[in-house]
Symmetry: C2
Subunit: 468 residues, 2 copies
């Protein structure tokens, strides 16, 4: 049966890409409230497409913890049949802001197919691979299965609109619709592959604590000649605080930061170090001479099994052209920490806050804001579902998947386990150079089609899962 | 004769303020090329006013070292008579950018008279005290003298339009018009007083080196999950570099930074520490709990006889609302160093550049730009001109001036000495809380009038200077 479905898919490739392009034209930027109408239009369009794929589909409202309306969630189901396993497919239709716009070679919301730097055809657009393209792999696979009696599982699609802003409205939505969303396994395609020839199943995701430090020295911007040297300059103090957060070995100095980091076996570390991992390609991808970070680990380990602390933004004083001799009243830093199992975001957050405050001099005011937190997760690699997924992947790729850890965060994975009680399979199709969150984001055309085939095979394989 | 002039001035106070307000309405922001027409209109207006004061006055072109046209200079003279001393009065009609506009209580270019926080009437506008108001003290004094036979000196006014952008076109202008500008002494009112009851003559100015550090890590903004921990984050590296520029004692760590700092006698230090200097008022003026800086010095010393290194601006990554999990490709810092005699800006600049480059890791690119440099200066306090100035100030204020050092920089003072060969007298009327370069800049109304009287008295006193 799967081979028939794959044949159908192979005949629909042009059509599949055209539909993905339509999906990508919606500027569904969840961070921007002035895009709300377009974000909703995107959800409406997606729900309609899922109806064409013969699913029962609806656009459902959410509520943010603050009380305001959240972005809607698209929920779609086939007709569930007793005895079949239930698969929850999660994805998101919202995208990151496209800025800086001037760095896009073709406009962010006008999907364009052209060859990338390595000579492979790709579709360039914001959201191409994160996550619209990967959501579309599933929509297309489901559509193809319809011509052959439909997917052989009880299917529930949950496609949300707030992943890029921390999925903050989703937990209470899942609580409210717990019974409707109940499943044997969750399947997510929002991760990547080490390279175009190596399929992968992601076995872990990093968690996140995101903070903004706001320091105030003088109550107004002052002349650096009149005051320089005699008052605390919040920009200098901020630099001192941030510099003190790492030691000479590249380790984070926040007390207790590493206390709960799970030991990773040499076996897994060796797998990470060798599994088709190309250090030179990693550096080349971002045009740096060599990678660097915590001593004793290579780049593959640093972005997966090790926690980090990175500045995501700095703002202080005069930022225009040329010189202005001013000491700014305030200095701000956005700082995020990626966490690994079993670090607890609440514990890390509290220790971070204490560390920062302990370093602030008595004549500087300090405010710290926190944004979405997420738990790190490990997903089982030896469950029945994982074994079936492995078979499905091997069938399409001609080789078994490697098990990797992603450096990124999908906040909902921990919530799915906590609220719905099911494990997640992370099978994604992004390439390391897809420029996720950056200008000129792309999705490799071949990966798109192979991802679609893989999704079709996954449905076939998971049909053999025993329902609990 | 002076008492007659002072009587004339006392009858013209309303008029004097109205004319200052007209001067302040020109948005003569030298840093902004889109203000060029208004900057020139300001120069034209000023030249015309000086003609009303019976001076021969012209607007003269300048050329920037880069080859482009500079902002014009206003040069005005009375009829020079043999045997009289020649006084060069320098000032500037250009102003700092008014931003951030939203912090102004009344618009920056709509001069408004109201009471300040301490209950004294002041005129609020960009340039009120720096330097239009103080230039106008002289114009008004000259006007009043005209009713009594004119100022008793050979007068040359040189009012430039690029002080706030480093006076870069002025040196070659002075070279070209050396003979026309030749004088026995230069008089500048562009400094301040310790408080409203204490007149001051400024005996030293700090110099300046202003740099921008631009670090580049990855060649594009990247996802902090995908890359975080394994590539150099230019924002973190920038913070480390800046933090390392000071030691725990608040001293600058650049090699050789203090080598050429002139020893300041305990006598002068004691004068600085006690001369009406109010540490609590200093902190209150900028709403900090207490001053801080290099150990072993108080605030008065830190802003005058000690060199500094301050961040004037930071720019990196995402600066919008909320969270974006990005590692920015570049991070920038504007950093300025205030220098004291006899630090050489070229030597400091070179050592700064070496220090920064030595701290940049091999996988980060570093560009360093430098903006206007200025030499620190000491002006003689025991010259014949200084003694006459002292008498003039005492006549108006009823007490002799204190000799202070300004933390600020007037780049042209060193050039006047070098090119025209004459010393400068710095007699200014700004108060410490005048918010120079900040929103709500002001000039105290009483200081304006007393400054005008002092200018009139200075012309009388300097008339007794022997011409060389």
């Amino acid at each position: 049966m799967l081979s028939e479905v794959l044949k159908t898919l192979s005949g629909r490739r042009y059509q599949a890409m055209e539909q993905l392009k339509a999906f990508l034209r919606f500027p569904s930027v969840s961070a921007k409230s002035d895009h709300n109408a377009q974000t909703r239009a995107c959800a409406d369009w997606l729900a309609e497409q899922l109806r064409f794929a013969m699913l029962e589909s609806s656009v459902m409202e959410t509520r943010h913890p603050s009380g305001r309306a959240g972005h809607p969630v698209v929920v779609a189901k086939n007709r569930h049949q007793p005895g079949r396993p239930t698969v929850l497919v999660y994805g998101h239709y919202d995208v990151q802001p496209p800025e800086p716009l001037e760095l896009w070679e073709s406009p962010a919301f006008e999907p364009t197919i052209r060859k990338d730097a390595s000579g492979h055809e790709a579709v360039f657009a914001r959201g191409a691979v994160d996550d619209k393209g990967q959501v579309w792999c599933h929509v297309e696979a489901i559509t193809a299965w319809q011509a052959h009696g439909g997917v052989p599982v009880n299917l529930t699609l949950l496609i949300e609109g707030e992943e890029e802003v921390g999925s903050e409205s989703l937990a209470s939505f899942m609580e409210a619709y717990k019974d409707e969303l109940k499943a044997d396994v969750c399947l997510i395609s929002d991760t990547g592959l080490p390279d175009r020839n190596t399929p992968a199943i992601t076995a872990g995701l990093r968690g996140l604590v995101y903070a903004e430090i706001i320091l105030t020295g003088p109550d107004h911007d002052v002349h650096s000649g009149q005051y320089g040297g005699a008052i605390p300059n919040p920009a200098n103090v901020l630099c001192q605080i941030i510099a003190s957060m790492h030691d000479a070995q590249g380790r984070v100095t926040i007390p207790g930061f590493y206390d709960d980091v799970l030991h990773v076996s040499m076996e897994e570390r060796n797998m990470l170090k060798t599994a088709e991992y190309d250090e030179a390609a990693f550096s080349r991808g971002v045009a740096i001479a060599f990678g660097s970070g915590e001593q004793g680990f290579n780049s593959a380990e640093r972005v997966s099994i090790r926690p980090t602390l990175d500045v995501n933004g700095l703002t202080a004083g005069y930022q225009g052209e040329g010189a202005k001799t001013v000491i700014g009243s305030t200095a701000r830093a956005k700082v995020s920490m990626r966490l690994v199992p079993d670090q607890d975001p609440h514990v890390i957050r509290a220790s971070f806050e204490r560390s920062v405050r302990a370093r602030v001099p008595g004549n500087v005011k300090c405010e710290i804001k926190f944004f979405g937190e997420a738990w790190p997760v490990l997903t089982p690699v030896d469950s029945a579902a994982a074994k079936l997924a492995r078979e499905a992947v091997e069938r399409i790729w001609g080789r078994p998947p490697v098990f990797t850890r992603s450096g990124g965060t999908i906040p909902v994975v921990a919530d799915i386990k906590r609220i719905l009680g099911c494990d997640t399979l992370l099978v994604g199709f992004g390439l390391p150079d897809d420029r996720v969150h950056s200008p000129n984001e792309k999705f490799d055309v071949e990966m798109f089609h192979r991802g679609t085939d893989t999704a079709a095979a996954l449905y076939e394989a998971l049909g053999r899962l025993k329902s609990v």
